[in-house]
Symmetry: C2
Subunit: 156 residues, 2 copies
Amino acid sequence: MNHKRIVVASLAIGLSSATLAQTIGKPEDQIRWRQSVMQTLGWSMGRIKANIDGTYNKDQVIQAANTIQALANSGSGALFTPGTDTGKGWRDTNVKPELFTNSAKLKEVGMAYNKEANEMAKVAATGDSAAVKAQFGNLGKSCKGCHDEFRKEEKK
Amino acid sequence: MNHKRIVVASLAIGLSSATLAQTIGKPEDQIRWRQSVMQTLGWSMGRIKANIDGTYNKDQVIQAANTIQALANSGSGALFTPGTDTGKGWRDTNVKPELFTNSAKLKEVGMAYNKEANEMAKVAATGDSAAVKAQFGNLGKSCKGCHDEFRKEEKK
């Protein structure tokens, strides 16, 4: 991947957007918003899975995939400002401090998520449930790639 | 507006999607997800406002407007299943019971929100900050239209 593509992909997920545009919110707002974005992603992934496992509804899968795509391109990385490795939004943050220091790995997993989310929306539009199932697997791996690196075990 | 357009707009915001596709989640999941969608909308609205009030960054406004558009077309209305007029997600729901009974009003305010969110994304793409400011006002009114009818006063 050439330099330009790396920069574009990094900007899409917002890793550097604080240098381009204003970051809003107090730390507790940012943590609550990013937890909300993650939950909205979780809802959307759950909907796609329900369609794969149950009766396939093309329109619902498109709704969910478009939501995931928009969030993956929303610049939500800007909500991880330095100093928010601890703090409470809806609940205590589960982020690992490494997210704020290992920028190379963050870029890698962030770009993978961005790529797979964009592809998910394209595949959903076709209505091909087998292709959706395959791409859902790829997207899920990209989610896990970031969670494994940068999210603490969920507290139950 | 003709009947077909009403049906299409209603489906877009998910008022009837439970009849088309599986609804997922327990009541507490649905409440937490809809609260998360609302927070993600609030974050996105705040970002657009910060750009209107401060230095205008076209890309950030597009990111936020596209997020709002995707959420307005996500079918999140399906998260308001009967019986979820009480219950706790991240916190106790603020929904008024009228949302589950006044379907005519719900359709009216839902369609307005959908229309203004789609328009917001179109206007954001132009990069015309004055037009964005005007459309932000229209979109904000459509949010308020639903909140006034169907959301209890926020508990501070």
